[in-house]
C-alpha cells in the first residue's frame, strides 16, 4: 500500500492540452474519487498514474518513488476498466491468476490467491466459466478479482459501474466500499456520477476542463463549495444559483431575480452593491411570512420528501421539504432560505465570497 502524489501534472495530445497542471495528494489507504463531467480528463489522469499514457510534464509519485518513467508493470498498480477488459479465451480463474502466472508464481500459490479473492467476491462457483458466460455484474466482479489477486499498492477504477443497471450499481457501490474497508488498499476511483462520489469517497477531487476545482471530504464539498462549478456539480437536486446584487453588509441582504429580497448572514466588507450569485440548496428553504414570493409549478412527492419546482422572481428554483405540505401548482408561497447556509459566489470569477 502506498500514497500517490500528482504534482502539477500536465498532459497534451499533440497540440491540445487536456490536463492543465493537476496536483493531488492521496494518502495511504485512502479512497479517493475523481469526479467531473465527461471529457474533463479523469480517465487520462488515471491512465497516467497506471502508466498507460506518458506524462507531458509534472511528476507522479507512488509511495516515495517518482514513476514518470517507470513502466506499468513495475508500478505495482491494478486497474479495473470500464468495459472490464477480461481475456475472452481464459476462464475466470485464469483471468484472475494471469498476472501471477506472468510472474511465474508457483501453481499452488496462484490457486490459493485466486480462491481467496473468489471467496471475497462470491465468485467461487464461476471459476471455471468463460467471460462470455457471465452476466455484467459477474464480469465486473471478475475484473475486481483480477485486481485483488495482485495485492497491489494502488487500485485504479475507471467508471467500473457505468455499464450496470441502476439497482446493480447501487449494490456494487456498497460492495466496493466494503471491499476497501476490508483490504484497505489505496484506491483511486473515477466516475462522473456525483452520487457515487459522495457515497464512496474518503476524499473527492472535483475536476473540470483539465483542472482541479476542489479537493475535500464529501460533506465538506457539499457544505462548503469553493466555487460555482463545485456548487452546481455536487448535490442532487442541484443547488439553486440566483444572480443578483448584494444590498448591505453585516446584517445585510441580497436582491435576487425580479427584486426578490433574500437574507444574507455575512458578506465580505465593502461588497455592498456588488453583483454576485446567491446559492441555496433545495432543502434549505422554509416557509415563512417574510420570505420571498414564489409560484409553485410542479410538485413531486417521493414519499420521504416533497420536491417542488417554483418560480422565484422569474427564476426557476427547486425546493425540497420533509414536511408534507399540501402544495398545488399555481399556489403562491413565501420561501425563506436559511441565511446561515447560504453560499455567495463572485459573478465573474465564480469564487466563493462568504466564509
Amino acid at each position: 500500500m502506498a500514497s500517490v502524489t500528482c504534482a502539477n501534472v500536465r498532459k497534451s495530445f499533440g497540440a491540445t492540452q487536456v490536463l492543465h497542471g493537476v496536483s493531488i495528494d492521496i494518502r495511504d489507504r485512502e479512497f479517493v474519487v475523481l469526479v467531473g463531467p465527461s471529457g474533463c480528463g479523469k480517465s487520462t489522469l488515471l491512465r497516467m498514474i497506471a502508466g498507460l499514457e506518458n506524462i507531458s510534464s509534472g511528476e507522479i509519485r507512488i509511495g516515495e518513488r517518482v514513476v514518470n518513467h517507470v513502466p506499468p508493470k513495475e508500478r505495482d498498480v491494478a486497474m479495473v476498466f470500464q468495459n472490464y477488459a477480461l481475456y475472452p479465451h481464459m476462464t475466470v480463474a485464469d483471468n484472475m491468476g494471469f498476472s501471477l502466472k506472468l510472474r511465474s508464481a508457483p501453481r499452488r500459490e496462484i490457486d490459493e490467491r485466486v480462491k481467496l479473492a473468489a471467496d471475497i467476491l462470491g465468485l467461487t462457483p464461476l471459476l471455471a466459466r468463460y467471460p462470455r458466460q457471465l452476466s455484467g455484474g459477474q464480469r465486473q466482479r471478475v475484473a475486481m478479482g483480477r485486481a485483488i489477486v495482485r495485492d497491489p499498492q494502488v487500485f485504479l477504477f475507471d467508471e467500473p459501474l457505468s455499464n450496470l443497471d441502476a439497482k446493480l450499481r447501487v449494490q456494487m457501490r456498497t460492495e466496493i466500499k466494503e471491499l476497501h474497508q476490508r483490504i484497505e488498499t489505496t484506491t483511486i476511483y473515477v466516475t462522473h456520477d456525483q452520487i457515487e462520489a459522495m457515497t464512496m469517497a474518503d476524499k473527492i477531487v472535483v475536476m473540470h476542463d483539465g483542472m482541479v476545482e476542489q479537493i475535500g471530504a464529501p460533506l465538506h464539498l457539499y457544505d462548503h463549495p469553493d466555487n460555482l462549478f463545485v456548487a452546481g456539480f455536487i448535490g442532487s437536486p442541484a443547488m439553486n444559483l440566483l444572480p443578483g446584487r448584494i444590498t448591505a453588509n453585516g446584517g445585510g441582504g441580497f436582491e435576487g431575480p425580479g427584486g426578490a429580497r433574500l437574507p444574507l448572514a455575512t458578506a465580505p466588507n465593502g461588497s455592498t452593491g456588488q453583483r454576485a450569485i446567491y446559492g441555496v440548496r433545495p432543502e434549505h428553504f422554509s416557509l415563512a411570512d417574510d420570505g420571498a414570493e414564489a409560484v409553485i409549478q410542479i410538485v413531486e412527492p417521493t414519499g420521504s420528501e416533497i420536491q417542488v419546482s417554483a418560480k422565484l422572481g422569474g427564476a426557476d428554483i427547486t425546493a425540497v421539504f420533509r414536511e408534507r405540505h399540501q402544495f398545488k401548482p399555481g399556489d403562491k408561497v413565501r420561501l425563506r432560505p436559511d441565511a446561515r447556509l447560504v453560499h455567495l459566489f463572485d459573478e465573474t470569477t465564480g469564487k466563493r465570497l462568504n466564509a
Partner: protein, 319 residues
C-alpha cells in the same frame, strides 16, 4: 373433438389435401428450400457434376476424343507402380509443407508489423497486397525471368556484389528448381495470409493489451498469451485455405518449369494435367487428380477439429 372422433377419416383427409400444397408454398422451412433451389442446382451443375465426372473418368480408359470403358482400379494400380507419380506426391507434399510454413511465418510477422503504428501505414499495406493482385501467370513469367539461366537479375546482382562468379542455374538444377518454385509460391501467397491475419489482429480489443500491460506482460508474453490464442480461429481458417491453394497449385509451376527438370518440380496437379491433356490419357490424369482428394480432405478435417476445441468463442456449448 367430438366430430373428429365420430368421423375422423374424411376430415383428416380433407385438411391434409389442402395443407400439402399450401405447406409447400408457405411453410417457412419449405420456403427456405425454394430459395435454396437455384443455388443447389448451380452447385450441382458446376461443382458436383465435374467432380463426379472426374472421379468416374478415373475408373475408365478414356482418351481425348474417345469415350472410355470402365476398367475399375486399373489406373490406380498403374499409378501405384509409377515412380513419377510418387515423385509428384513427394514434390507436392514438400511444396505445400515448406511453402505453407514459411508463408505463415512471414505472413504473421508482416501482419504484426503492419498492425503497429508507423508512418505511411496505408501505403505499406497497399504495397503488401501487390503480389496478390498481379495475375498469377504474369508473376510466374516475372519469376521465370528472375530465375533465367542467363539474364537472371538475382545472379547478376550477386555477381556485382562479388558473392558468386558464375550464374546460378535456378530452374535447371534439381533442388534449385524446387526451392525456386517454392520461393515464388511464398511470394505470391504471403499477402493473403498477412492481410487476413491483420484483419484478425484488428479485432482484438486494445483494452486487452492495456489490461495485460498492467498485469505485467512483456511484449512476447502478450503475443503468446493474448494475441496468438485470440488469433487461432482465423489462423486455422486462413491456413486451411492456404494449404488447399498451395496443394492444388498449377499455374506457377506450369509457366516456370512445366514440371522439369526431369519431373523435379512436377506437382500432382501439373502431372495430372500433363497426362490428361498433354498425353491425352484422360483416365490416368483423372486418377492423379482424384488421388489429391484424400489429402485435401485430411487438411480440412484437421482444421475443422482444431476449430472445434475453442469453446470460449461465441455460439458454442456451455460446458
Amino acid at each position: 373433438m367430438a366430430d373428429i372422433a365420430l368421423n375422423p377419416r374424411p376430415a383428416r383427409k380433407r385438411i391434409g389435401d389442402v395443407t400439402a400444397w399450401q405447406r409447400l408454398k408457405a411453410n417457412r422451412n419449405w420456403l427456405g428450400i425454394w430459395f435454396m433451389l437455384p443455388t443447389a442446382a448451380f452447385l450441382l451443375l458446376f461443382l458436383a457434376y465435374p467432380l463426379g465426372l472426374g472421379i468416374w473418368l478415373s475408373f475408365t480408359d478414356a482418351r481425348i476424343g474417345r469415350g472410355g470403358n470402365f476398367i475399375g482400379l486399373e489406373n490406380y494400380e498403374w499409378l501405384w507402380g509409377d515412380s513419377v507419380f510418387w515423385l509428384s506426391v513427394f514434390n507436392t507434399l514438400l511444396y505445400t509443407g515448406v511453402a505453407s510454413v514459411i508463408k505463415f511465418a512471414i505472413g504473421l510477422y508482416l501482419a504484426l508489423l503492419l498492425n503497429q503504428h508507423m508512418p505511411f501505414k496505408a501505403i505499406i499495406r497497399a504495397l503488401v497486397l501487390i503480389p496478390f493482385i498481379v495475375p498469377t501467370v504474369l508473376s510466374a513469367i516475372a519469376f521465370w525471368w528472375i530465375y533465367d539461366s542467363q539474364f537472371s537479375i538475382l545472379s547478376w546482382s550477386l555477381k556485382k556484389l562479388g558473392l558468386i562468379s558464375q550464374n546460378i542455374d535456378f530452374l535447371g538444377d534439381f533442388w534449385n528448381a524446387r526451392w525456386s518454385v517454392i520461393a515464388a509460391n511464398i511470394w505470391r501467397g504471403v499477402p493473403f495470409i498477412a492481410i487476413t491475419l491483420l484483419a484478425g489482429l484488428q479485432t482484438v480489443s486494445p483494452a486487452l493489451y492495456e489490461a495485460a500491460t498492467i498485469d505485467g506482460a512483456s511484449r512476447w508474453q502478450m503475443f503468446r498469451h493474448i494475441t496468438y490464442p485470440l488469433l487461432t480461429p482465423i489462423i486455422a481458417v486462413v491456413m486451411t485455405f492456404s494449404v488447399l491453394f498451395t496443394f492444388t497449385d498449377f499455374q506457377l509451376i506450369w509457366v516456370m518449369t512445366r514440371g522439369g527438370p526431369v519431373n523435379a518440380t512436377h506437382l500432382m496437379a501439373t502431372l495430372g494435367y500433363q497426362r490428361a491433356i498433354g498425353g491425352g490419357y484422360l483416365g490416368e490424369g483423372s486418377a492423379i487428380a482424384t488421388a489429391m482428394i484424400p489429402f485435401l480432405l485430411a487438411a480440412i478435417l484437421i482444421s475443422w477439429f482444431g476449430l472445434q476445441r475453442r469453446k470460449w468463442q461465441q455460439g458454442e456449448a456451455n460446458d
